[in-house]
């Protein structure tokens, strides 16, 4: 790495050296990020940018100009770039904001649990919500130091903002506050807590958490849920006692090529939404020149989806073992787990589990006495749905803005750090150890012709037992919604089921017998996506749901390409307009929406824009008919 980061560095450094130093707290926080790295080793480590931004954000509650300038000096980065990255993420603030921020989920599931009433409570106590930074008009000037007074001067103790889905749908309404999650919120409990915080107290102790229902039905189950809830999540002994690390042992015994063949034989397809064959992905990456990387995509952010969170919190070693096997098969020495910023609990669990695995020789050099050396780093997102798009995720780890890349080239050719990379979803990786331990052929007899194995389904909304359920592919949607999740409570009826999250489609009551399988859902114009089923009863105002979905995409667009940046805003406006008109089909507006949908699908860079009109369009099938 060169000591001179870029040609204009001299000029930039001169300027940056005139910026006042950061506070001692900020400096200490940065020191923890640099760790043992000597100053000259930090230059060029752009991948430390996001961890550094997180550190100063947590130390001060926002990212100050002096702190940003200090990061620039250490990493050899221009200020404009650092600010560009910091201002990209919803959980990072580039101007002073209250130390205690309540990120209230008002997304499609929490809104069924009274998120609006909660928002009113917050509004009454705390005033207007702080805008997501990305959508504010102008900022910055206020945060510039004049050297005399603290920019935090008159800040209130507590602030709040609206948040997209926090992935707590089975136990909402939810709010993220610092490193903890408030769950099962009611206006009373939230109000009490906020009043305590405003008085400077810590507030009432955590009430009993609403449960996460786990269940399964059908051949082969429980496979992924077998250990969840039965073991201490960070106990390696518990994990091994229930079959853990047998998959890795088998892989190490048969060699990388045979490992890939075993996964190919299993017919395992990706569980993140795109359903790409996992074995083929690994084979494609393995044939490129080293160094290669493997990445676990734990940026689960699809509204209504929380299965990855449950796996990471309840059985983290299964994912770690899966990623280790992937690293072995692909020929990588390093893997990354990118955990969504809104999952503090999952992050902590994974960090602990990795330490345990390392201590026991399941990670590090010469794993289990073989020639295979491999280690895993955890990275934390900072509030951006788009970073679940794999190339945006690479950019985020690398310290760039989380903007998706044009493809080709594909990640298996040019991925993380521009190297060949196999990136897999959490659930996909959790499938790998049993595939290796019990054989690809055994796995392939579960499920349907084109959808092999078992699937985790997140059921939320108007059901008696919201939770994560495991079924072999091919089980009808109805079985999951009614038999496992208990159906609509108190004699209500299903109005519609949103399948696949905000990027998915609505299923009507008469379509609930569709089997949960890639091919069967395709046949009715739907897709399994991330495996989320959000159930809406007949009293739900579905227009409000559709409008929230449209707002979600507007808020989460990265802004890089025109069809998505402006198109998602225009889509939101069209939905609002249609809703105002009572939904009765205005052919002009509908025509415009359909045209826009086609252009977003055809011309957007990534899946976010391409799928942004899915749910909206599918709702028009029935919303226009409503009286």
């Amino acid at each position: 790495m060169s000591a001179i980061p870029f040609r204009g560095w001299g000029v930039e450094l001169q300027r940056l050296e005139h910026v006042p130093p950061p506070t001692p707290e900020e400096q200490q926080a940065l020191g923890r990020v640099w760790g043992h790295l000597r100053p000259e080793e930090r230059v060029g480590r752009r991948d430390l940018l996001l961890p550094a931004l997180w550190a100063v954000q947590e130390a001060r509650g926002w990212i100050s100009y002096p702190a940003a300038a200090a990061i620039c000096r250490e990493l050899g980065l221009p200020l404009a770039d650092v600010y560009g990255v910091a201002s990209f993420y919803a959980l990072l603030a580039t101007e002073p904001r209250p130390r205690r921020m309540i990120h209230l989920c008002d997304d499609i599931v929490c809104m069924l649990r009274g998120a609006e009433a909660l928002a009113q409570i917050l509004h009454r106590h705390l005033g207007d919500p702080l805008e997501v930074p990305a959508h504010g008009e102008t900022y910055g000037q206020r945060s510039l130091p004049d050297g005399t007074k603290s920019p935090e001067g008159s800040l209130p103790r507590v602030g709040w903002s609206r948040s997209p889905c926090l992935g707590q749908c089975e136990r909402g309404a939810a709010a993220l506050v610092g490193e903890s999650m408030l769950l099962g919120l009611t206006p009373e409990s939230l109000g009490e807590r906020v009043r305590a915080w405003l008085r400077g107290e810590e507030g009432p102790a955590e009430a009993t958490l609403p449960p996460t229902h786990l269940g399964w039905k059908g051949e082969g189950t429980p496979l992924l849920l077998a250990r969840c809830g039965r073991i201490s999540p960070t106990s390696l002994e518990d994990y091994r006692a229930l079959g853990g690390y047998q998959g890795l042992q088998r892989a190490l015994a048969i060699g990388p090529e045979a490992t890939i063949q075993e996964v190919e034989r299993s017919g395992l397809i990706g569980r993140g939404g795109a359903a790409f064959p996992t074995g083929r992905k690994w084979a494609l990456a393995a044939r490129e020149a080293p160094p290669r990387y493997v990445v676990c995509n734990a940026d689960e952010s699809e509204p209504g989806t929380f299965k990855d969170r449950v796996l990471l919190e309840k059985d983290p070693f299964s994912v770690i073992e899966g990623l280790t096997i992937a690293g072995y098969a692909v020929g990588a020495e390093r893997g990354y787990i990118y955990v969504r910023g809104e999952y503090p609990e999952a992050y902590r669990t994974v960090v602990q589990a990795l330490e345990a695995a390392r201590a026991a020789g399941y990670l590090g050099s010469r794993i289990l006495g073989t020639h295979f050396s491999f280690d895993i780093e955890v990275r934390r997102g900072a509030g951006a749905y788009v970073c679940g798009e794999e190339t945006a995720l690479f950019n985020s780890i690398e310290g760039f803005r989380g903007e998706p890349r044009n493809r080709p080239p594909f990640p298996t050719q040019v991925g993380l750090f521009r190297r060949p990379t196999a990136i897999n979803n959490v659930e996909t990786l959790a499938c790998v150890p049993p595939v290796l331990a019990r054989g690809g052929e055994w796995y392939a007899h579960l499920g349907t012709e084109r959808s092999k194995g078992t699937k985790l389904v997140c059921v939320s909304g108007h059901v008696a037992r919201p939770g994560v359920y495991e079924v072999p592919f091919g089980v009808p949607v109805r079985t999951v919604v009614e038999d496992l999740a208990g159906g609509v409570p108190a004699g209500g009826r299903v109005q519609a089921v949103l399948c696949g999250g905000a990027a998915g489609t609505f299923l009507l009551p008469e379509e609930l017998d569709t089997p949960l399988a890639v091919e069967a859902l395709q046949a009715v114009g739907a897709a399994l996506g991330s495996g989320a089923l959000v159930v809406f009863d007949e009293r739900t105002d579905l227009w409000a749901v559709v409008e929230r979905i449209a707002r979600f995409f507007r808020d989460e667009s990265c802004g890089q390409c025109v069809p998505c940046r402006v198109g998602t805003q225009r889509q939101l406006e069209l939905v609002e307009e249609l809703r105002r008109g009572g939904g009765r089909a205005d052919p002009h507006l509908r025509g415009l929406l359909e045209e826009l949908a086609q252009v977003m699908r055809d011309a957007s860079i990534c899946g976010l824009g391409q799928l942004a009109a899915n749910a909206v369009l599918s709702s028009l099938r029935f919303l226009g008919r409503m009286p």
Partner: protein
């Protein structure tokens, strides 16, 4: 004697016409080699393509979505269609989305494509909120150029010209996200407090006058900017030994702007602060007019 190394050729079909083109060429190059063209906005001949504006999309047989021609590499046997209704719908919509969200009145390319594809931005007007609102004031924080971000279509050209593909100053980047994304020197700093060295290469590549020399900005405001009355005179920069080729834009016998020809292999259109802005001395001591140091063309205090 030099020996040219020939890259292997790839055959592709552009609107049923076969083209042979070196491998690693882009679809845009293939399309142009076939004597056709597609519109482009974020593409700039001296910068690497990034494929973000999506106005150059074409249909490629077998591809689920449309494909940006500027950045996609040719593959043997590719069949490309540049003029289908699907392609035209996307181009028209991209132009409309730009027209409804920013002021494109000084963006000649956007205007041209709007006419060519029959864009009707007004059909969004009745309900569109964002974009049809009060304009933010242009940022005038230095004597050399103005940032009028309500004209910015986020083509990233300025960011690239400021960074490693041009000046290597890295003074500006895209900040924020989604509709709130904008070009920013960091913390919304005024340019003189930023890493900007005022080479003006960002304005040289800006297609919309979101970045514009102050002279031009002021003459537009005064209603005196008139490109039909301008001539371009090519000369050599008088400052240093490099001898960059300059294009002086002259109106009424006075220099009103300086650019560099893109085709020049030395500058590729890029200049330094002296070449681009250091010409006002030419008119020093003469009668007042645009660019005169003695007397600004607009009364002080109007900006």
């Amino acid at each position: 004697m030099t020996r040219e190394v020939q890259a292997p050729l790839v055959t592709v079909e552009v609107d049923d016409q076969r083209v042979e083109i070196p491998e690693a060429s882009t679809l845009l190059q293939a399309i142009r080699a076939a004597g056709k063209d597609v519109p482009t906005l974020c593409y700039h001949p001296v910068l690497e393509p990034i494929g973000v504006c999506r106005v150059c999309v074409v249909e490629v047989e077998g591809s689920r979505t449309l494909v940006p021609a500027c950045i996609r590499r040719v593959e043997p046997g590719m069949r490309v269609r540049t003029e289908t209704p699907r392609v035209e719908l996307s181009r028209r919509m991209v132009v409309e989305l730009l027209q409804t969200s920013v002021d494109t009145s000084l963006a000649p390319d956007v205007q041209r494509y709007a006419a060519e594809y029959g864009a009707r931005p007004e059909r969004w007007q009745p309900f569109a909120r964002e974009g049809f609102r009060t304009r933010r004031a242009p940022k005038v924080d230095n004597d050399l150029y103005v940032r009028d971000l309500d004209r910015c279509i986020l083509c990233y050209r300025c960011v690239r010209a400021c960074g490693e593909e041009g000046q290597s100053s890295f003074a500006i980047a895209v900040a924020g996200r989604g509709l709130g994304a904008r070009i920013d020197p960091g913390f919304d700093l005024p340019l003189p407090d930023s890493a900007c060295v005022f080479c003006g290469n960002c304005l040289a590549v800006c297609p919309t006058e979101a970045l514009v020399p102050k002279t031009q900005f002021e003459m537009r405001r005064a209603g005196t900017w008139d490109e039909r009355r301008q001539q371009v005179v090519t000369t050599t920069c008088p400052y240093c030994g490099v001898g960059c080729k300059l294009n002086l834009h002259v109106q009424d016998n006075r220099i009103v702007k300086v650019t560099a020809p893109l085709e020049d292999p030395i500058t590729r259109g890029f200049l330094c602060v002296k070449g681009r802005f250091g010409w006002t001395y030419v008119h020093a001591g003469t009668a007042s007019g645009p660019g005169s140091e003695a007397e600004p063309s607009t009364p002080a205090g109007t900006l």
